[in-house]
Symmetry: C2
Subunit: 190 residues, 2 copies
């Protein structure tokens, strides 16, 4: 039996994305965003949605780019902290001890300790209400060698990204492998 | 040491979203989308990005709405099948035995057997290249009573959504609970 919960921002799984920018004086900053995802294949595009009040909002508009780092579950506390503090008040890299690494193709920092990073060039800032959606083109993906599978692709069991549950406001890790995409359902397609 | 993988649609975790629509003759259809997420808090907005070639693309534009159902891991094969077959050729509800349920607030079907459903009214169709991003307002969230926590919010450990890994093209389940959002990082904020 289903219960109506009302109009909420609910969708599972939501990601935990660490958005890296440089501010006006070149200080690296990062924020946590769960409103983000992939939105186009060609060109490869992703987005993060941010409130205007965030320090990152102005920084993305100023430099026309950002980096996304995927925090692994062992850094869940640091990732949560990044979503609590503001770069206006503190240098969150200093507080967490995480390392800002200048991206190769865009003027933004990613987190050296996190296994996967995306370098993103801003294409559109779409105003939706409380949040602006920053749609950008992925110029490069960088991943730690030791989290790649035999095909050279990031292995989720090694990347160990964090899963966010909106509304309940909880973090989870990745569980067991269920199967291969476009293969598991083949028997039904016959 | 990080390796450059090139410009790819990579972001972890990606969701598996079952997008429900009615076609021109009122037959229920569903497709699987991993390019989707939350993009605004007020109004509560989500999106799914679809190729023009999909049967669902025209159906969303025709009725100005869609439903999103969150498949649980025990239906991973069915969810994968929904991403393989086209509603132009087959009735995927018939093939899978899943039940289309007419949404309350929009003219679209959700999947009765899946624990969480969103009723979404189309706001904008944004052309990004290979994919159009269908941004919509969440009018209601419906969830199975038996997957709610004590606060009445969906419990991820009970919803058991599927996690998709782009590039590696694999599905995973949800693992252990890591902690509470805006609490885990508090020690660092002091």
């Amino acid at each position: 039996m289903k219960r109506s919960l009302g109009a909420h921002t609910v969708l599972y799984p939501a990601p935990v994305l660490i958005v890296g920018t440089y501010d006006a004086v070149g200080q690296p900053n990062m924020m946590a965003a769960a409103w983000g995802g992939i939105c186009c294949s060609r060109p490869p595009c992703v987005y993060v949605s941010l409130r205007k009040a965030t320090y990152t909002h102005g920084a993305i508009l100023a430099r026309g780019c950002y980096a996304i780092s995927i925090p692994p579950e062992r850094y869940a506390a640091e990732a949560d902290y990044v979503g609590i503090a503001s770069g206006r008040d503190v240098n969150k890299f200093d507080v967490t001890g995480l390392t800002p690494v200048r991206a190769e193709h865009v003027d933004a920092p990613y987190v050296g300790e996190f296994p996967v990073a995306l370098e993103v060039k801003l294409l559109q800032a779409i105003e939706l209400g409380s949040h602006a959606q920053f749609v950008g083109q992925v110029l490069d993906v960088k991943a730690d060698e030791d989290c790649l599978n035999a095909a050279g692709h990031p292995d989720l069991a090694l990347v160990r990204p964090i899963i966010f549950a909106p509304l309940a406001t909880e973090y989870y890790g990745v569980g067991q492998r269920l199967g291969e995409g476009f293969v598991m359902g083949e028997a039904l397609a016959r």
